[in-house]
Symmetry: C2
Subunit: 300 residues, 2 copies
């Protein structure tokens, strides 16, 4: 189980993110100082290793999910763009996010009364708490947390069936990429379920699994799929050096067509800002500004 | 010379940007479909290969300089941020830029009357024109161009000695990284020479060779070095997927302390915008917005 040389993604001491379907012709590679964990869970292949610059690295099905060094760029942006695009979020739902990073960021908002987190793979939570404890940073102990170990898609379907619609102010979809257990999270039916689970002024944000350099037409299609369901849909992104192309797209949606998602809807307090390393109101708005060629395809 | 297997940076058909000094513990890799050229010039190791996604790739001393697919992100931003931060640039100096990309972008501005380009390595020009013709896109034939094959540092010194100070409205320093022939371009004496060559309202921009993830303290120091010479110095960046961390920092300076470098100083015409794939006025300003932790080190 703790084999140091036979892992398919590691060769000559380097982890290689080779994936000819998702990133043809290119691969980010990281030197492996030591392998901390390696196994096949019920749902996916899990690899955790140490790198001298990036610290502990979590890999699912061969794709880098987060590293200690740069994780805040992803966790803060996917969380706070949605949280500050809402004027007073009280009930928050996290789909996925087993590493605890989004949970940690949501928990920083004192206005939040209830956090529901739905993760399908208990071993990701367990291993992240053990090997990447700074990601959740104690947030799994937060009294506002209601943790559910089940499929996020099914959880949203059950909400619909039970008549508990319009519950959440913010929903963060922090899934892995569409290949694998998260496949259903990138289709129209999922956006419909999100809409049913959201309050009228609610905001939903999801990682797109792509960026403008890698798959611009896919992003256009994904945004158009979301638009069929939500009258207000925007594309923005965060910059993460260990993700392909150094950036990752996010899709943000609301039922409220007049809500300006690119602008924070409340003033960030000094105390809130002090807790954040990456997010600030200026970078919130900048994250929605695209290079011309990408803007013309995604936003026209 | 056209050896397909023995190049130090290529192994098992993959080019590996391994550089333990500049990017320890990580390496971007690209599949090599074919090697177009490989040799040691008088100044540096030159490698040109084909990749199925990025097209033709130019590598100097083991560092990716540009690829056909994403070069416009660098060429447009380093050029047009400086060009639009000036209200009416007529005389432009390019230091380096042998691939012709910055020249192509400068030549798009009809207000420009004279372009001086100083490149030390004639073979970079020659090989780029042969293997990467879309980079210069005919701009080497531009009648406004005065091309000088010499050392940029010495060229600026000679300007000082000859009494031809205050000549240029915009200077773009498009050098390779400090390791190698471009070493002198990252020191205080160089900024002093740039200042001497610049008009009072002139704008100078240079590639920093680093980004906020890779070497934040170096960027703070480089900006502070520039600040000793220029009262107005800012850091901004462009996003390029084949550069380490997916982004590259730029240092922008002016003698005019009241000039807002983060805002275009003239309206971009529809005709000008149509010629650009990446740059637009919104991304000009966004390029100066940093994540909080980097902002606090670079700008405080």
């Amino acid at each position: 189980m703790f084999n140091n040389s036979n892992h398919a993604y590691i060769k000559d001491g380097w982890f290689r993110e080779i994936n000819d379907k998702s990133f043809p012709g290119q691969a980010f590679t990281m030197a492996v100082d030591s392998i901390l964990y390696q196994a096949q869970s019920e749902f996916q292949d899990i690899l955790i290793f140490r790198n001298k610059v990036y610290g502990t690295v979590l890999v699912l099905d061969g794709i880098i999910q987060c590293t200690e060094f740069d994780e805040f760029a992803y966790q803060e942006m996917i969380t706070h763009i949605a949280m500050f695009a809402h004027s007073n979020p009280k009930r928050v739902l996290i789909i996925g996010g087993g590493d605890g990073g989004v949970l940690r960021e949501v928990a920083k908002h004192s206005c939040v009364k209830q956090i529901t987190m739905v993760e399908i793979d208990a071993s990701v939570i367990e291993l992240s708490r053990k090997f990447l404890p700074t990601l959740s940073d104690g947030a799994f102990e937060d009294e506002r947390l209601d943790l559910k170990l089940c499929d996020g898609f099914k959880f949203l379907q059950d909400i619909g069936d039970s008549g508990l619609q319009n519950r959440y102010d913010v929903i963060v979809t922090d899934s892995s990429d569409p290949e694998g257990p998260a496949e259903a999270f990138f289709q129209e039916r999922y956006f419909q379920l999100l809409k049913n689970a959201l309050n009228p002024n609610g905001v939903v944000i999801m990682q797109s699994s792509e960026n403008i350099w890698l798959n611009l037409n896919y992003l256009r299609d994904l945004k158009n799929t979301a638009k069929k369901v939500f009258p207000n849909t925007e594309y923005c992104y965060t910059m993460v050096p260990t993700y392909t192309s150094g950036q990752l797209g996010l899709i943000v949606c609301s039922n409220n067509a007049s809500l300006s998602l690119a602008n924070p809807q409340r003033v960030i307090s000094e105390q809130e800002q002090e807790q954040l390393k990456y997010y600030n109101p200026q970078i919130h708005s900048s994250a929605f500004v695209l290079p011309t060629w990408a803007d013309m395809i995604i936003n026209k």
